[in-house]
């Protein structure tokens, strides 16, 4: 029974969101992102203020379930550049993975690498980010690109809950040639970060982030 509780708690703490992809020095971060076509679980540890290592499991499938692919990787996250401004912060991140991939549209298990880049800009009221990552294995190349923007309903202080409206456009080449647009409600309270919404086809999506 306790194992189930730990498992469920781990999942709840692991749904991702694409804000800063690592925490502060010596912190652990768990992230996750769950929707019909894309599921991701990540945990990483910040070795320095700019470097984190971790593990990620990414599962993608087409809407009609005809194709699916699972990537299990060791990851490295690097804060390439940060701009700390009086009223804003901007970042450029490198996110890369090395591991193995399996899928139902190719045979066996293959080695995979997945370099990616993220840029973001945030004030206490506005948020914008762009993300691109490519998943490469022998004879297989998939990419995921996304852009997010949104605003906070009001400026909140450190110990208050802050609600945001975020809209994401995401394209996953393995899943579809179309962009998937998803409006989400984001809530931030201390070390909790949660996003919930549904894409324009009504498919629900849930993301969580937790740092400790």
């Amino acid at each position: 029974m306790k194992l189930w509780l730990v498992f469920i708690a781990s999942l709840l703490l692991s749904f991702t969101a694409k804000a800063a992809p690592m925490g502060f020095k010596d912190s652990w971060m768990t992230m996750g992102d769950f929707s019909k076509t894309y599921r991701e679980l990540t945990a990483n540890y910040a070795l320095t203020p700019r470097d984190a290592i971790g593990v990620t499991s990414t599962y993608m499938q087409t809407n009609n379930y005809s194709q699916s692919q699972l990537n299990n990787e060791l990851t490295y996250t690097r804060l390439v550049k940060r701009w700390n401004m009086p009223e804003a912060q901007a970042n450029i991140w490198f996110i890369g993975g090395v591991g193995e991939t399996t899928g139902n549209y190719f045979g066996g298990t293959k080695a995979t690498v997945s370099p990616g880049i993220q840029a973001d800009y945030e004030t206490t009221r506005l948020y914008a980010s762009a993300n691109a990552r490519i998943y490469v294995a022998d004879g297989i190349t998939n990419n995921v690109v996304s852009a997010r923007t949104g605003f906070s309903f009001y400026e909140a202080n450190y110990d208050e809950t802050q609600p945001w409206l975020i809209v994401e456009a995401r394209r996953m080449s393995m899943v579809s040639t179309q962009y998937e647009v998803t409006p989400m409600l984001r809530l931030i309270h201390n070390r909790f970060f949660i996003e919930a919404g549904a894409n324009l086809h009504g498919q629900p999506r849930l993301s969580f982030m937790y740092v400790y």
Partner: protein
């Protein structure tokens, strides 16, 4: 005699030796509570820290020392850097975190 006793008590309890001096820092880049967790967590762990207050709206971090202990400003600046932010101004203020918090809240 009674007056002298009361005066002595007042001098003892309100003398500068008993005043709290906190460190008030203005921090650039501090826009999100989720991301600023590191500042509070890292500074709270320092041995001389009694209390930490983070104010996102004023971009301010206030640190109060434990009684009889002195804050290491250099180490605090490093901790804020390790949390991913830049301190642009540091002031010593003869007030506790509770007093400064009340002041900052009143100024909003």
């Amino acid at each position: 005699m009674k007056k002298i006793f009361i005066a002595t008590l007042l001098v003892v309890f309100f003398s500068p030796a008993f005043a709290v001096t906190s460190m008030k820092a203005t921090v650039n880049g501090m826009v999100c509570a989720f991301c600023a967790q590191g500042i509070e967590k890292r500074i709270s762990k320092m041995p001389a820290t009694k209390a930490v207050y983070v104010d996102l709206k004023q971009k301010t971090v206030v640190v109060e020392p434990k009684e009889g202990m002195a804050l290491d400003q250099k180490a605090i600046i490093e901790e804020v850097k390790d949390a991913g932010y830049d301190i642009v101004k540091v002031e010593s203020v003869p007030k506790s975190v509770a007093e400064l918090k009340a002041e900052l809240v009143a100024n909003k």
